[in-house]
């Protein structure tokens, strides 16, 4: 007998579940119901049925096979197959034709995954998969991984600079040995089946040898061909040899053969002649390779709608009409016209800008894109805000023409409110068309206001908020992978398994499905990784490798032997800086035993050379004077590790990006600066000591809090991934809110039957332990090692777990208005769902049903949008109309937020005759009861008159509210936003991670959202937890804070730590901070971080007798500490300091700026500024403390852009502006600095959440104190800078230098 569930069979046969039910009802399909919603039938009958209905033979066989497998208890996971370990096969296997659609037996599964698309979605998937133990091929069509995100200027709601947040991910991706980046490549064909795909890839030639290219840009400089750039929209041009954008990964040029003169006309080859490394290779040819992978994740992105197709927008004819992506580039600091936003027509600053929404979206007419592109509203709001922020000196009049402003995401509504308060005009109307302005500049538009008044207005420019579209690649990929596309050419995926396509083992994420925000596609990336990992569980870690380095040499007894390697970078450095002179100079520095000039220090040969020198001369400290540590530090660390040195014995002097490139006309000063930089690096490296990242064993259990749909799906995903999972639910039943949902699914699938399936699966799975009636009483410990106490049915039970997922959900808010509570016919959406909608006869009797949206939402008391209510009401309205077309259904709304493909539901509802009437928040509907009738009075904005409606039922969309203080999240001390929802670690890139390491969240407790999105989060959170625990241990950051003997337990640092890593300890403080295996034991570490025996404690303060008797000290949890050093800068007694940034290291570096030991003998100890003496012009020396993530990157970029600034600037890299102790600033002044700058990220952009705020606060205080020390406070500045604001950086330094020049040299007391 064949036993099956309708849903499962439906999926296998590729039909809708209702189809099967109908077959059974009609007797076409002779199955009989048995227990647990299962059906049985004889196999013979099934075979006969299949023959009759022409079901493909292989599908039938796989169903039959699966049935027999189940009997024998074989699950795919138990079949381990490590065949085909070589992920890379050159030849295509014979006798395979095309994609086999059957269920895989998994006997040939491979542990490699292909990710198609190198945008943020692809990058995130690749990183997640590699972390989880899968080898990843990341296929990208263009020459580098960047995607649309790289083109954006800032992202809301944090207003972070996009490249800043993207670059670290890109670099991680490129550095991971288990991710193979294949650029300029496209998928050609696929064969095989899930677990065992052979995919052939066409690789297009780059014509540049990536091993040799050093991205110096000489080729592009010399190239004579200009090509219009797609990256910058229609506005700017690039050369035929190009790099996608400044921060592209890999940082390698490529030749566009379609434009290159050599390829088009057979001559030129200028780039080849000028390339200093001989990287240009015109002989490269196209090649096709076949990759053997177990699964495929498709993230091909989208195409922005081309408004040229709609004449009404004047795009392409009127110069000052740009698309939102183009405007993003105008706003961007690395954008089209340099640092200023100027309009294209006459390059003047626009003072009056309009945004037009829904260009290419929500239109059945013309382009046919009937869906909502979901993000354009927030993009426009963000751009409107950013436009003013850029211009401090004049007001920018900003107007948004919109229809429904869809600020439905987390924090979005607040952003919208902010824009309103910032005087952005929101006009609810679409102008008919864009007409040219007078004098050939600007535009004019006619629009009608809501009262019917006509306006004719001129604008300096118009930004078209263009929507997303599917593109040719999507159609091609869909064809190759046999993925079903909907009418808009987006991938069709089932509501309850939102990433799965029709082809097993192939997953669709990102805009491939439907346009969506960054947050959601990053979530989808992790969720897709979960699906892949589940499929390929048996072959996990079969292809990934870990790098093994030789044993580290014990250098604790060695005297410092410094090797200095000075890079010429071809001519990049050498043409400005006299590298030979720098080398000669360096050789005289104390402890330096080896100095070498190398033309390309990053080349493979040079790397080998460095390794040999380390071994030969027993070097134990290395200084590399070359480019930026941001891009190359990890490379050189690897060389050190290969040579048996600890990677942290390295220091880099950035003499390219922050010297040669930015002081091209000051060769002498540049050489002097290079010497100084080398000297600073040598002085600093002297105080380095080996650091080892700490490893912690983990408890291999995950706790999932909440037994709703999300919690269960999360637990199930974990269970499938082989993780032991505890699921706790405070009620006695599982299911949560989903129990009351009936009509919410996007497709026709039923929530309740899916819920049934999930509950059964969770109950059955051996890896899930379920606690009902259980609440979490207390939690202690940290990531990898949490301990908790549960109260289950009144009894307490102790549990331990390595990670936890919060899936505590949220609740429907209780309305306080519209007669709710006094009148039984007034009910909430969920109440209506199970009291009325569930009963068709009740519905049949109703004549008027009125929905009121935004009840209590989007008002000061509850200022966010609950995102689901519009969808819910619209779906309910459709349901009503389908039951009885004569029911009059009214939806009273403020803004219809049926975003994305939900727009189709809104359209369907209108077409079915549901009437939508908008109301204003200050003119809400009035509900009254006269005897039996319930009536609603409101004002129709289009008709401009009051309307009255009767209501048999009044349904209130009261929105979603976070659970109150009973929230178990409190126990974990995770952040909650002002609306009561959990705050993630990063609102865009780590959407399901909580700010406390080891904790994740999913579903409504994060923010209200429809079920498919919640399920994505459940899967993503499960995967993040799985990946974290899967290695059995957790590797912590090596650069982190530690407690010294000087800690007096004052506790000031406890509050400032953004990661809650510090707590006040008991009587034996130092024991706590030494759990690690390899970390220098704090007992032997002095306050300056030196290990005992003290090697170089030549100066330094006397070691105080340690006060072990003292009771209170702080404890730092190394698993939580991120190494920002905010604590260290707060501590007045050096009781807590950060590895790698100890006071000794910092002070040595500062001191060495002014103290030249070589000149010491001849001259007296003199400051540089005084050195010139006599009549030489005064060149102020500035010490700049630059935050690694923003300011330092910005300074690097200034180099890339060859922006010039005064050479008196001496950069010191710090991890965060918040780690700059006021002592360092005072120290710098004491040593003779003319000025000091501290540069951190913009507010809200801090990598460590709030380090920059601390720095600003300290700077304010310091400015007050400076005069007492005889220092003009004007000599100190604390500034904000983003990593793209290279021009602003240059301006700041230049202006500060000028200011210092006016102030004159310092009179040192």
């Amino acid at each position: 007998m064949l036993t099956f569930k309708v849903g499962t069979l439906a999926r296998q046969l590729g039909v809708h579940r209702n189809t099967i039910t109908n077959w059974i009802k009609k007797g076409i399909f002779p199955a009989k119901p048995t227990t647990a919603k299962r059906y049985t039938m004889a196999k013979k009958r099934f075979v006969r049925f299949c023959e009759k209905e022409v079901i493909p033979h292989d599908v039938m066989m796989s169903i039959l096979e699966e049935a027999s497998e189940k009997k024998q208890g074989i699950t795919p996971a138990s079949l381990s197959g490590k065949e085909g370990l070589s992920g890379f096969v050159k030849k295509e296997p014979a006798a395979r034709d095309g994609l086999t659609e059957t269920c895989p037996s998994m006997s040939r599964a491979v542990g490699a995954v292909m990710v198609v698309g190198g945008g943020i979605a692809g990058i995130q998937t690749a990183l997640d998969l590699a972390q989880g133990g899968y080898y990843v091929y990341l296929i990208e069509k263009t020459s580098g991984i960047d995607g649309t995100l790289a083109q954006l200027n800032k992202i809301f709601p944090t207003n972070e600079c996009d490249p800043c947040i993207l670059l670290p991910e890109q670099v991680k991706c490129a550095a991971d040995q288990n991710i193979e980046l294949i650029t300029l490549a496209q998928v050609q064909s696929v064969q095989g089946q899930a677990g065992d795909f052979f995919i052939s890839i066409k690789k297009y030639p780059r014509y540049i040898d990536t091993d040799k290219c050093i991205a110096c840009g000489v080729c592009a400089e010399k190239c004579p061909v200009h090509v219009a750039v797609t990256f910058n929209g229609h506005i700017s041009k690039r050369k035929a040899v190009y790099i996608e954008f400044d921060q592209c990964v890999p940082q390698k040029y490529a030749i566009d053969s379609a434009a290159c003169l050599y390829f088009t006309h057979g001559k030129c080859r200028a780039c080849e002649g000028f390339c200093p490394t001989g990287a240009v290779d015109f002989d490269q040819v196209e090649e096709t390779v076949t990759l053997h992978v177990g699964a495929v994740v498709l993230a091909p992105g989208f195409k922005p709608f081309d408004p040229f197709l709609h004449g009404v927008y004047g795009y392409g004819k009127i110069k000052d009409v740009v698309t939102s992506l183009e405007y993003e580039r105008l706003l961007g600091m690395n954008g089209t016209f340099g640092e200023k936003v100027v309009r294209p027509s006459d390059r003047t600053r626009p003072r009056k800008i309009a945004w037009l929404q829904c260009v290419g979206s929500r239109k059945q007419n013309g382009c046919g894109n009937a869906y909502c592109s979901s993000i354009c509203c927030m993009v426009a709001v963000k751009q409107a805000l950013a436009s003013q922020e850029l211009f401090l000196d004049h007001r920018v009049d900003r107007t948004l023409f919109f229809l429904d402003l869809r600020s439905h995401g987390k924090e979005s509504e607040r952003f919208f409110e902010r824009a309103k308060n910032d005087m952005v005009r929101f006009i609810r109307a679409f102008p008919h068309s864009v007409e040219p302005g007078t004098d050939g500049t600007g535009v004019a538009m006619r629009y009608i206001d809501e009262k019917g008044g006509m306006h004719h207005e001129h604008f300096d420019m118009v930004v078209l908020s263009t929507g997303f579209e599917s593109h040719g690649d999507i159609k091609r990929l869909a064809r190759i992978f046999k993925i079903e596309l909907d009418e808009h050419q987006f991938a069709v995926t089932p509501y309850f398994n939102p990433l799965e396509t029709r082809t097993k083992g192939v997953y669709a994420i990102g805009a491939f499905q439907t346009p969506k925000s960054i947050v959601r596609l990053v979530t989808q990336a992790s969720a897709a990784a979960a699906s892949v990992a589940t499929l390929l569980m048996a072959v996990r870690e079969s292809l990934t490798t870990d790098v093994v380095y030789p044993m580290e040499r014990n250098i604790s007894a060695e005297t410092p032997l410094v090797g200095v390697f000075i890079c010429a970078c071809g001519n990049n450095i050498a043409e400005v800086v006299d590298v030979a002179a720098v080398a000669a100079y360096a050789s005289h520095l104390p402890h330096v035993v080896w100095v070498e000039n190398i033309s390309f220090v990053c080349s493979v040969d040079a790397q080998m050379g460095i390794k040999k020198k380390i071994e030969k001369f027993k070097l134990n400290r290395i200084v590399i004077a070359s480019c930026s540590p941001r891009t190359h530090e990890s490379l050189f660390q690897t060389i050190l590790k290969r040579a048996g040195l600890n990677g942290f014995m390295l220091e880099m002097a950035n003499i390219r990006n922050q010297n040669a490139w930015v002081h091209r006309n000051q060769k002498g000063a540049a050489t002097q600066k290079a010497k100084d930089q080398v000297r600073m690096a040598v002085a600093r490296v002297m105080h380095h000591y080996p650091l080892l990242p700490e490893c912690k064993q983990v408890i291999p259990w995950v706790l999932v809090v909440g037994g709703g749909m999300v919690g269960m799906r999360c637990a199930l995903t974990l269970a499938h991934l082989g993780v032991q999972t505890m699921l706790i639910e405070c009620w006695d039943h599982l299911g949560g809110n989903a129990l009351s949902l009936s009509t919410c699914a996007k497709d026709q699938s039923s929530v309740l039957s899916m819920l049934d399936e999930v509950i059964t699966a969770v109950l059955d799975h051996p890896n899930v332990r379920i606690y009902r009636n259980a609440t979490l009483v207390s939690v202690s410990g940290a990531v990898g090692n949490f301990r908790g106490v549960l109260r289950v049915d009144g009894k307490k039970e102790k549990i331990g777990f390595g990670a936890a997922v919060m899936a505590v959900g949220a609740k429907e808010a209780v309305p306080r208005e519209y007669l709710y509570g006094t009148e039984p016919r007034v009910m909430t959406q969920l109440e209506f769902g199970h009291r009325v909608l569930a009963d068709e006869t009740t519905v049949g009797r109703a004549r008027h049903i009125v929905f009121i949206q935004c009840v209590g939402s989007r008002e000061p008391k509850r200022p966010y949008c609950s995102q689901v209510c519009c969808i819910h009401s619209v779906k309910a309205a459709i349901h009503l109309k389908k039951i009885n077309a004569n029911i009059r259904v009214y939806v009273l709304y403020r803004e219809m937020r049926t975003y994305g493909e939900w727009e189709a539901c809104y359209t369907e509802a209108r077409a079915l005759g549901v009437r939508f009437i908008r109301y204003e928040v200050d003119q809400k509907p009035r509900v009254s009861q006269n005897g039996k009738t319930l009536s609603v009075l409101l004002f129709d904005p289009v008709l401009q008159r009051p309307v009255k409606i009767s209501a048999d039922y009044l349904v209130l969309a009261s929105g979603v509210e976070a659970h109150g203080n009973k929230n178990p999240a409190d126990l974990f001390r995770v952040d909650v936003n002002s609306d009561g929802f959990l705050n993630g670690a990063h609102p865009k890139l780590r959407p399901v991670d909580l700010s406390v390491a080891g904790l994740f969240m999913a579903g409504l407790c994060n923010y209200p959202k429809p079920m498919d999105e919640s399920i994505e989060e459940a899967q993503a959170a499960a995967y993040r937890a799985f990946a974290m625990l899967s290695r059995g241990k957790i590797v912590c950051e090596a650069v982190k804070a530690f407690v010294t003997a000087h800690c007096d337990g004052c506790g000031v640092c406890v509050d400032v730590c953004p990661f809650h890593a510090i707590s006040l300890g008991g009587s034996s403080p130092l024991k706590i901070s030494s759990p690690g295996v390899g970390h220098p034991s704090p007992l032997t570490v002095d306050k300056d971080g030196n290990r005992s025996p003290l090697l170089l404690n030549v100066s330094g303060k006397d070691q105080e007798p340690s006060e072990y008797s003292r009771d209170r000290r702080i404890i730092i949890d190394p698993a939580l500490c991120q190494g920002c050093g905010i604590c260290a800068a707060t501590c007045s007694s050096q009781g807590v300091i950060v590895h790698g940034f100890t006071p000794k290291q910092m002070q040595a570096q500062i001191a060495s700026v002014f103290h030249d030991p070589i000149k010491e003998n001849g001259d007296d100890e003199n400051t540089l500024s005084c050195e010139k003496g006599g009549n030489a012009p005064f060149e102020p020396v500035i010490i700049g403390f630059l935050c690694n993530w923003c300011a330092y990157a910005g300074a690097d970029l200034a180099g890339v852009a060859r922006l010039q600034y005064p050479a008196g600037f001496r950069p010191i890299r710090v991890m965060c502006s918040g780690m700059v102790h006021p002592d360092y600033i005072m120290d710098a002044f004491a040593r003779g600095a003319d000025g000091v700058m501290v540069m951190g990220c913009h507010p809200g952009e801090c990598h460590y959440l709030k380090g920059n705020e601390k720095a600003m606060a300290r700077a304010d205080v310091l400015s007050l104190v400076l005069p007492d020390h005889g220092i003009d406070p004007q000599r100190f500045e604390c500034r904000c800078l983003s990593s793209t604001e290279s021009a602003i950086f240059v301006n700041m330094v230049t202006i500060f230098t000028l200011k210092l020049k006016t102030l004159g040299p310092r009179e040192i007391r």
């Binding site: 019917g452 009254s928 129709d940 008709l943």
Partner: protein
Amino acid sequence: MKDDYQSPPMDQETSETTIGDASMLLDLDVQAGTPLLRDYFRKIAPDSGQPDICLQCGACASGCPASGVFGMDPRKFVRMVSMGLDDELLNNQWVWVCTLCNRCVPVCPMNINISRLVFVVRTHWDTHVKPAPLMDLCQDCLETDTGSSLGIMDGADWRFIMEETADDTRNTQEGFESLAVPVGKKGAELFLTQSAHIPLTDPQEIPPLWKILHLAGAHWTYGSSASAWASDNACMYLGDINAWEKVVRMRARAVEELGCQVVLNTECGHDDWAMRRGLEQFNIAHTFKVKSIVEYYAKWIRQGRLRVNSDWNRILKVRFTVQDPCQLTRDRADIAQALRFVVKQAVGEENFVDMSPGGAQNYCCGGGGGVLDSGFIEERRHYGKIKLEQIINTGATYCITPCNSCFRQIHDLSHHHGAGFYTVHLWTILCLALGILGAGERKYLGPDLATVGLL
């Protein structure tokens, strides 16, 4: 959900409070009971967008010159249809001011054919409240065998005027002694139709057209016994579908009788539309095509059959602009281009200033759709203000109109508002550029061109 429930304090609800003007209160329970228009529209055009799916975005109303007239605009209009406010719709004169110019149609995101909707509403008006002047015109169309809306012209009258005018031209104008004005000529290629107004009010405007046809060597004819020569369809304007059909059938029969291949519309875009749409909608079997003379002008010039020369204006530098007849150019970029080509050939490219927006996006002047004759003079002039402004902004001295309705409306606008520019028929300027414009054919030219090209 109920577990958390604790009876919340109620916000004050007062049933007496009203919102807005209570006298305007609309009881949707009553109103929505008889949405005849809405249902009708669902039936007649189930595929071309429904008023119900309107997003209320206002793109239509923003671009409509009739917005605000009679307190109505297209968005409101669609909303009212959807809400079932039939009574009000059948009393608001706005539908008679809308020129059915279709400017709103291409921008509607939901593809709602608003002008079709307006037309449907027109059809639903009671005959005794429809605008009387339009009623009369339609009546005339039906009652005269000429199909003319100015019914005083029966066949004999018309023939008389034509003969007189033709004779006059033959006698007074050199080179046109053999000018033929064929009537009912079997087997002619082109079946000419033209505005009924011109023979009555401005007969001197006809010879230039004849002369052009003559020079181009066109094989053309008027309908036999003068039937169906008039190029208008007031019945269509009136929303009298049966009468519209009758007029179209009459003309189709007249064309088929003569075996002409093309109905050459010299005039109104609406008539062009009424003819084409009517043939399709009423399923009238036919073998001919309906074309605009603008296409033929362009063709003849390109073929060298009309040697148009703009030298006359090289020194004068008189600036011209051109009005796009909505029904001709809204969705037919080729005609808009042809029109510009012809005008530029005639006046010189450098002396032509286009209106912005023009072509497919052009603003209607307010004379189409029967509005010119429906009696709403004030509203029509209000409607035309955007067009007037546009023309003034071009700085042109002359506005060329290839359509007689446009001509009459723009001429009136210029005159009424004292704008100072002149309005001329396209053929007048063509003849000027061909050097064949007679002295008596210059009624609408200004003094600057009064003698140009005259010997």
